[in-house]
């Protein structure tokens, strides 16, 4: 079991570290960094499913017999670029949140929202 599944387990550990950062850290930028750690774990997991022992990169040439599977690579290749584009959207949101709240800590943002709601309630 260890000899055949160690890669998956290590990658699960990596994903879980990323997930932990996303769940328990309140800072939005840190959450985004954690999300990209999680993402990389998933990418590696996908790629590792296509790997064959003794295989080589799926670029066909005459003196190579076994190739790793190209499909996971195609999916992940596009996912990386999409990933950085969505990371940029997240970062842009964080910048806007900082501009209107003066903080990127989730707790303080929620606190300010609650304060505003109380004031609204008192006024009406």
């Amino acid at each position: 079991m260890i000899a055949t599944h160690y890669v998956y387990w290590l990658l699960f550990a990596l994903m879980m570290i990323g997930l932990y950062v996303v769940i328990s850290h309140g800072n939005m930028l840190k959450k985004l960094i954690g999300l990209s750690l999680f993402q990389v774990g998933v990418f590696l997991f996908f790629i590792s499913l296509g790997k064959v022992d003794g295989g080589s990169a799926p670029i066909v040439s005459e003196d190579v017999e076994t190739y790793s599977h190209p499909l996971p690579q195609v999916l992940i290749l596009t996912a990386i670029v999409v990933g950085v584009a969505t990371l940029a959207v997240g970062l842009a949101l964080a910048v806007r949140i900082f501009e209107s709240y003066g903080t990127v800590e989730e707790d303080q943002v929620l606190l300010r929202d609650a304060d505003d709601r109380e004031q609204d309630g008192g006024a009406s």
Binding site: A13, M15, V21, I33, A88, L91, V95, V104
Partner: protein, 331 residues
């Protein structure tokens, strides 16, 4: 223990150690730099797992563009994280341990790592991609033929996602802001960064040409539109960082960039429509050269990869410009 296992485990251990350090770090600048290191190690692992195209992309994206974006955002917001209260750590740990345990339990059903008899490898599609593609399309790099031809529709979808994300960032960060006129032009202290400027000036044409080389040689080796776009954009990011945003925007005005962002999806979908007009299915490149299917495929793949490259480069560059504008105007 073979060398492969040894290298694999070592790299994974470095990754996990880096991830743990990042998660415990409160200074976000340092965390960002470690994230760049993390990406480099990931790229090495991709090479080890035979995914050279992916490694290429990860190195350019993870170390180049996302690091620059994160650093830019840190200079706009706060670079120190508040202490995570103990109360919040516990639920996170419980969820993570539970999820991780479930995954490890479920991994019993996964096939052995690297085994040639897994469902992934024995599926008939594998043979189509690796053997038959040589007759259908005739290009050695099967990643490119799957990306641009067999799963061309899928890639069109991904390109639209990149396009949408670029538009979303521009919408959030106010693309119509025109800082150049209002602000006094910075007097650049040329002597101060002489070495950096000369070396950048010398390298940038080669970086851009390398990106184009990667774009047009995706058929034969690792490369293609996504990689080329990202490398091209990082050339411009480098230029913008060293010579200032104003000059970078003079070279590539933002209006031109916006047009280029839209050119990619339009060209890509246009290729599909042209195929339909020629009597084939959407994105059926064979119709470009009815007598010689492989030649038609070559034309189609070239056009589609160029479309991808243009849009990815334009989106990445304008995202960088968007953030950099914010940084400059907040000073």
């Amino acid at each position: 223990m073979t060398t492969f296992v040894l290298i694999n485990v070592t790299l994974l251990a470095i990754l996990i150690a880096t991830a743990l350090t990042i998660s415990g770090m409160r200074t976000l600048y340092a965390a960002t730099m470690l994230t760049a290191l993390f990406s480099l190690v990931t790229a090495c692992l991709f090479v080890l797992l035979d995914a050279v195209d992916v490694a290429f992309t990860e190195a350019a994206v993870g170390v180049g563009i996302s690091t620059v974006l994160l650093l830019g955002v840190l200079s706009l917001t706060r670079s120190r994280e508040a202490v995570t209260p103990r109360l919040r750590r516990l639920p996170g740990a419980v969820v993570v341990l539970f999820t991780g345990g479930t995954l490890i339990y479920a991994s019993q059903d996964l096939p052995e790592f690297g085994s040639p008899t897994t469902p992934v490898q024995t599926h008939p599609l594998t043979d189509v991609y690796l053997r038959q593609s040589q007759e259908d399309i005739g290009i050695p790099n099967t990643v490119t033929s799957v990306l641009a031809s067999y799963r061309g529709l899928d890639t069109l979808g991904e390109l639209v996602v990149v396009f949408t994300a670029g538009v979303a960032v521009l919408a959030l960060l106010g693309p119509l802001m025109q800082p150049a006129e209002a602000r006094e032009r910075e007097v650049l202290d040329l002597v101060d960064y002489r070495v950096l400027r000369v070396v950048t000036g010398m390298l940038m044409p080669f970086i851009l040409l390398f990106a184009l080389y990667v774009l047009f040689h995706g058929d034969f080796g690792p490369g293609g539109g996504f990689q080329a776009g990202v490398i091209f954009a990082s050339g411009f990011v480098l230029y913008g960082l060293v010579f200032g945003l104003d000059r970078a925007q003079q070279v590539l005005p933002r209006r031109v960039l916006w047009v280029l962002i839209a050119v990619g999806p339009v060209l890509y979908a246009g290729v599909g429509v042209a195929n339909m007009l020629l009597g084939g299915a959407f994105l059926d490149y064979d119709t470009f050269a009815p007598d010689d299917a492989a030649a038609g495929q070559h034309i189609g793949i070239l056009l589609v990869e160029s479309a991808i490259g243009v849009t990815v480069a334009a989106v990445m560059t304008s995202i960088f410009f968007g953030f950099a504008n914010r940084v400059e105007s907040s000073r």
